[in-house]
């Protein structure tokens, strides 16, 4: 509801509302981009927001802002991956996102999960990020990934299996 109100105010041309919208959604976008690319990429994040500004006046359903935003982010990530493949710059997945928080165990757990997520195939990693980390419903995930809901479910199932295997392999005790 709050996002919808913000989006409508943005569509009206309220610049303060756009600032609030960016503050509310910048972190999820940055997290999604970082985890999908395996590293933080400010250019892609900026590209996403630029596309949001340009597309916002034409957004017909402000209540569907989150799936729309992540669909834009996904497109930007895919473009970046395509560029990387085209220029044969295969960068290793490092999972070197900055860890904030002082609790060592928490940092270690987070690194473990980041590593396991990075080890997932791209399609499975994407649905895990959207469904579990961004808390989006299945139909929104399907809309963002441009696949049927059933495919999202099967990717989630496979992702859980792969994550479990990866965490066990790294010595994590359930």
């Amino acid at each position: 509801m709050r996002d919808e109100a913000l989006v409508v105010r943005c569509q009206l041309g309220d610049r303060d509302a756009f600032g609030d919208l960016v503050r509310a959604w910048h972190q999820p976008v940055e997290r999604y981009v970082g985890r999908m690319l395996g590293r933080a990429d400010d250019d892609v994040v900026q590209e996403v927001w630029l596309a949001v500004v340009r597309g916002l006046p034409r957004l017909r359903q402000p209540e569907r802002f989150a799936p729309w935003l992540f669909a834009i982010a996904r497109r930007a990530v895919m473009n970046r991956l395509r560029q990387a493949y085209a220029s044969a710059e295969s960068e290793p997945i490092t999972g070197d996102l900055p860890a904030d928080g002082s609790d060592t165990d928490l940092v270690l757990d987070r690194e473990l999960v980041d590593g396991a997520l990075a080890a997932l195939p791209r399609a499975e990693r994407e649905v895990v990020l959207l469904f579990y980390l961004e808390d989006l419903p299945l139909d929104a995930c399907a809309q963002i990934c441009d696949v049927p809901v059933g495919t999202v479910k099967s990717r989630l199932h496979r992702a859980r299996r792969l994550l479990r295997a990866e965490l066990l392999r790294k010595g994590y005790q359930a």
Partner: protein
């Protein structure tokens, strides 16, 4: 990267002055080239180099209109408030074209029916555009009020 960094990078597309300037430049180009075209079409005898000069001036005006159209659809989008401002600018451009067109036609003591038709069609388009922009903004304002409660 912080949200403020993102917003700093979005200064240009979010700048109201830039959007309104684009619309104004486009309408000025369109109105100017229309009036020059009208003048060109109604001049009885012209030397070849004047034809070329008129053609170049019309092309420059149309180029500005094309650039502005591209800018407001691709680079700096128009939000609801901007659309209303742009629609009023459109009405102003129509008034300018009407005044210029009538001045040219009456100066030649020849008011052709097709000029009246063009003025009427453009007037209806400008008024319709203004109405649609105001209605879209009012709809969004109502929705914002509803959501704000």
């Amino acid at each position: 990267m912080t949200p403020d960094d993102v917003l700093t990078g979005l200064e240009a597309p979010l700048s109201l002055r830039r959007r309104v300037s684009s619309v104004a430049a486009g309408l000025a180009g369109l109105t100017g080239s229309s009036l020059i075209a009208l003048l060109w079409a109604t001049e009885p005898v012209l030397p070849a180099r004047t034809h070329v000069a008129f053609g170049v001036l019309v092309a420059i005006g149309l180029a500005w209109a094309g650039f502005a159209g591209w800018a407001v659809t691709r680079r700096t989008p128009l939000f609801a408030r901007d659309r209303v401002v742009a629609a009023w600018l459109g009405v102003a451009a129509w008034l300018l074209f009407t005044a210029g067109g009538l001045a040219i036609a009456l100066g030649r003591h020849r008011l052709s029916p097709w000029l009246i038709v063009v003025i009427a069609v453009l007037g209806v388009a400008a008024a319709g555009n203004l109405h649609a922009a105001r209605r879209a903004r009012a709809r969004l304002l109502r929705r914002a009020l509803l959501l704000g409660r």
